[in-house]
Symmetry: C2
Subunit: 370 residues, 2 copies
């Protein structure tokens, strides 16, 4: 029997995620599996929580990784916080805002949306107007829209919410670990992320963080959470307290990987990491410019780790991506939805955000576009 | 900063899961991460599906691993198949039957249960009587009750369902890869399992399989699946067909691990693997007997991979488990629910099911119980 893994070729991951994984994280992934109630493992869990608090810039006690990929983090936030009939406002300017809308409707929320053109950012004035019209239980926004490369003004939206009772929910899947994510300062009540973007761990876990107000809403639910696997009222008892109660078997080795990835990040230092993302981004923009390739997004709200670039006229975009992958072992991403065929998405996330990768891509692109 | 993983001590995993992981699976876990739409990865996904069909003894097309631990497999089956008001019968003789009841109620099903004493098996005559009283949309049973060590008569229940319209749902978390699980022959419509039991891969994925009738029920739903992350109507489009559509980012490295674990299993041969479990189980029973330790479960429906053993009178059970873990680096499991303090659960799952492990445990137990 032929083993498919023997032939596996390493790829430079410069798409919208997963990103490149550093060697220490691979080593961590293959450490011996131990029991999910082993005191050694409880020790690792506790460290993961405190490292996550550091990266998320929060003191929230309920700051843990959920046992699924980033989208399970979204589901965790919405399914625990929403009860049928809750009024929810979702700010949408890309795929991931739409995804929250889809799920919130499935959960029986009364959903309002404000939609903005893909490739532009959420406009605070319009949000302010809407907030003046209606009280919402939850207001949700995507910090870094992976589908468009836009950074939304989370801090400004937070200020608009001010003294309102609304819980503020932020998708930080692509932003966490690449740009500042100030959970407490921005008064975010529920935040979710993924491991395979700027944390540079393989996909498989979804860090989440909940404020005291959010935990109160969960505890005050009139109905059980309509989801067993992601029910925080039970999961809390596995991640907190002196007696850890079994809920589901935690994904041990993935958690080793996350621990190591967070450890790397904090050892390098958040500010240094953010600077590295910014520097690499600037180098990319300038290199692409020299090839005549322009950015989709206005510099004022451009993400460093997800670069939406306009496909030059007359170029067969799928051919270019295929050639980069097959001949140069570099992956970049295609556009989604209305941006399919119009943009490429070039990721500079976590371990990928290094100058040598920008150079390797630029050289390859130059040859492929000739 | 001190790295917690440097001090990690290897443990012989003889509890109710996770089980010991063979070296090739650790190697697989740390192979380079590639993109979830990379043709290399699609190739691996296709192999995983066909290997899973082999292990599950099914031709079901929809046979895939879900991106969560075993319990997410339970959630996948119930959340996709149940619509509010559906009549569901759940056969319960342990924790994992109760868990299905809990979730089915959250999903708005009309749930009936038949409960049997923990440590005994589901009694087909009582099921037959109940099936005569009412038509059910779904009948659910746990094949191997991990909380008690009982093997339920899945084949006999299947025969009772005969020509009925009910879908037959089986929890094969602990049975798959340790004893025969004949999905097609037993006319199972929905089956879920986990990776961390007899498949000997770390926890993190949930293989599931759905019959054509189950897929028809999902496709005929009047309401959207009230869960985005586990919605099979979308996930099918990532795992099947010529155009793979992105749903969520697959847990790439965990899937490498599962591929390798399934590969190992098929290379050894299903029958050889089942025999190995049985032989090791017999050796354990005989060794324990020589120490005066008796089994909880009747030999007729005893599981080979999960041995519920009665704690000898006057023994401080927590002290024994702690000493085994700390001094001998062996993990065994405690009892749950009504069996807490009454039994230990000794796992012989997958790579753990080797004679040398039985010997190591017996020697250690002899000393600890002195």
């Amino acid at each position: 029997m032929n083993n498919q893994l023997d032939a596996l070729e390493e790829i430079l991951l410069m798409g919208p995620g997963p990103s490149c994984v550093p060697p220490q994280v691979y080593t961590a992934l293959s450490k011996p599996t131990i029991g999910h109630l082993d005191p050694q493992f409880i020790g690792i869990m506790d460290k993961i929580k405190s490292l996550l608090q550091g990266v998320m810039q929060t003191k929230n006690t309920l700051t843990i990784p959920m046992s699924g990929t980033g989208s399970s983090g979204m589901e965790t936030c919405l399914v625990n916080l929403i009860e049928p009939g809750d009024k929810v406002l979702i700010l949408i300017n890309g795929v991931f805002g739409k995804r929250m809308e889809d799920l919130a409707r499935r959960l029986g929320a009364q959903v309002d949306t404000l939609e903005f053109e893909w490739g532009t950012c959420v406009i605070p004035e319009q949000v302010k107007e809407q907030l003046g019209k209606k009280e919402y239980a939850i207001v949700a926004i995507v910090h870094a829209e992976t589908s468009t490369g836009v950074c939304n003004p989370v801090e400004e939206i937070s200020e608009l919410l001010g003294e309102k009772e609304s819980l503020f929910l932020v998708d930080a899947v692509t932003s966490l670990g690449g740009i500042p994510v100030k959970t407490d300062e921005w008064k975010v009540d529920a935040m979710f992320s993924g491991t395979q973007k700027c944390l540079s761990c393989p996909p498989g876990l979804a860090p989440v963080s909940f404020s005291a107000a959010a935990v109160d809403k969960i505890k005050a639910r009139k109905t059980k959470v309509p989801n067993w696997y992601l029910d925080l009222t039970m999961i809390i008892n596995y991640w907190e307290g002196s007696q850890r109660a079994y809920h589901h078997t935690a994904p041990i080795n993935m958690l080793y990987g996350l621990y190591q990835a967070l450890y790397n990040l904090m050892a390098e230092g958040l500010e240094t990491v953010f600077d590295r993302h910014l520097d690499t981004h600037r180098a990319l923009v300038s290199s692409l410019d020299s090839l005549g390739i322009k950015m989709l997004v206005d510099p004022d709200y451009r993400l460093p780790m997800l670069n939406a670039v306009i496909i030059p006229e007359g170029v067969d975009e799928a051919r270019v991506r295929k050639q980069l992958l097959n001949e140069y072992k570099i992956e970049i991403g295609a556009g989604l939805g209305p941006l399919a065929g119009k943009i490429w998405r070039i990721g500079l996330m976590g371990h990928t955000a290094r100058i040598e990768n920008v150079e390797r891509l630029t050289c390859a692109l130059k040859k492929v576009l000739k």
